[in-house]
């Protein structure tokens, strides 16, 4: 019996005291007693084996391009899947002149209008519409990646610190570029410190603000990463409780309802974290474009 990332325990083997050690990823025929730590770790961390529904485990290749070795991992594949889904949705929405469903077009428009009105126009004072493509990409990409982690056989790419670091790096670049475009390089860095401060405060404020310039995207990165990882660790721990205690009634009474509840919370957190990331990015862009005096 295979245990997958977000199984609601629905595939719990009803034979009690099942001694044989199947639950850990059946993909590589793990033998030995059930090790909860290794089970959880294996499902959260990135790896080069991709688990597919019928085919089983597929080992992903390593690309050797010039001097670099690029291993293709599970999270990379999930990011590609997310991109494909987004492109497919947008293509479907664009076919409105033929017999395309009007629902998808409406859905995409809802998302665009939401990002434009609530996020870009509320937080950014000068030329908000210029930033809508970037904010929309961030929001939808993070959202789809989070949601893919919740379906069976999906892995959460945002539970990888590399992915969130890259997203935060892009946010950092956007914040600096928007400020430099508005005020020039010198003007942008002069705007870091609020105007009208007494001179003796400057030696404190300048290092604090420079540090703040880096900690804000860093916080974005760690917040998204930790939220996604923690949620999945909780779900996996609840499921592995059944196997640690080796009793099926524990699964029916305790693990399955709890895991279902936590999965629901994870759904909320998926949307919320995408929104928070995008909102904070738009807030920081707004702050660099129109510094408060």
């Amino acid at each position: 019996m295979r245990m997958q990332d977000s199984g609601h325990g629905a595939a719990v083997d009803p034979t009690p005291a099942a001694v044989d050690p199947t639950p850990a990823a059946a993909a590589h025929g793990h033998e030995g007693p059930f090790d909860a730590g290794e089970y959880i770790f294996h499902h959260i961390m990135d790896s080069q084996t991709l688990e597919l529904p019928i085919i089983g485990a597929v080992h992903l290749p390593t690309l050797h391009i010039g001097p670099w070795d690029l291993p293709i991992t599970r999270h990379a594949v999930m990011m590609w899947v997310a991109c494909t889904i987004i492109l497919a949705l947008l293509w479907l929405a664009n076919r409105r002149r033929s017999l395309a469903p009007r629902g998808v077009h409406n859905l995409i428009e809802m998302a665009i209008v939401f990002v434009r009105d609530e996020l870009a126009r509320k937080n950014i004072a000068h030329h908000p519409d210029r930033f809508v493509p970037y904010l929309l990409s961030t929001f939808v990409f993070i959202l789809v990646m989070n949601l893919i982690g919740l379906v069976p056989w999906g892995a959460t790419a945002t539970a990888n610190i590399g992915v969130t670091a890259a997203l935060a790096g892009m946010a950092f670049i956007m914040i600096q570029v928007s400020g430099i475009r508005e005020f020039g390089v010198i003007g942008h860095f002069k705007n870091l410190v609020p105007h009208g401060l007494p001179a003796w405060l400057l030696p404190i404020m300048i290092p604090v603000e420079i540090l703040g310039m880096f900690t804000k995207p860093f916080a974005l990165c760690v917040r998204l990463f930790a939220n996604m990882t923690a949620g999945h660790v909780v779900i996996l721990s609840l499921i592995s409780m059944v196997f640690i205690l080796k009793a099926a009634w524990v699964g029916a009474v305790l693990s399955v309802p709890f895991a279902l509840f936590i999965n629901g919370i994870e759904l909320l957190v998926a949307f919320l974290q995408a929104y928070i990331f995008t909102m904070l990015t738009s807030l920081f862009i707004g702050m660099s474009v129109h510094p408060q005096h």
Binding site: R223, A226, Q273
Partner: protein, 77 residues
């Protein structure tokens, strides 16, 4: 006495507990204020609810910072 790695696991457990205390206390105060505000002025309850959720997510971000450190301790040591 030889402690080996068990101190790290011990610290991870205590750290996680303390982190949750801080986070839950903060979010509890936030929810109390939100409910009082909604009771005083029901017509802005929707706005208050949105702001509350955003603030809760930010506080939770800080809590999860600490949790990540605890997980690192428990797993990598």
């Amino acid at each position: 006495m030889e402690f080996g790695n068990s101190l790290a696991h011990f610290a991870a457990g205590i750290g996680a507990g303390l982190a949750v205390i801080g986070g839950a206390a903060g979010i509890g105060r936030l929810a109390a204020a939100a409910m009082e505000g909604s009771a005083r002025q029901p017509q802005v309850a929707g706005d208050i609810r949105t702001t509350m959720i955003i603030a809760a997510a930010l506080i939770e971000g800080a809590t999860l910072f600490a949790l990540v450190v605890c997980i690192l301790l428990a797993v990598k040591a």
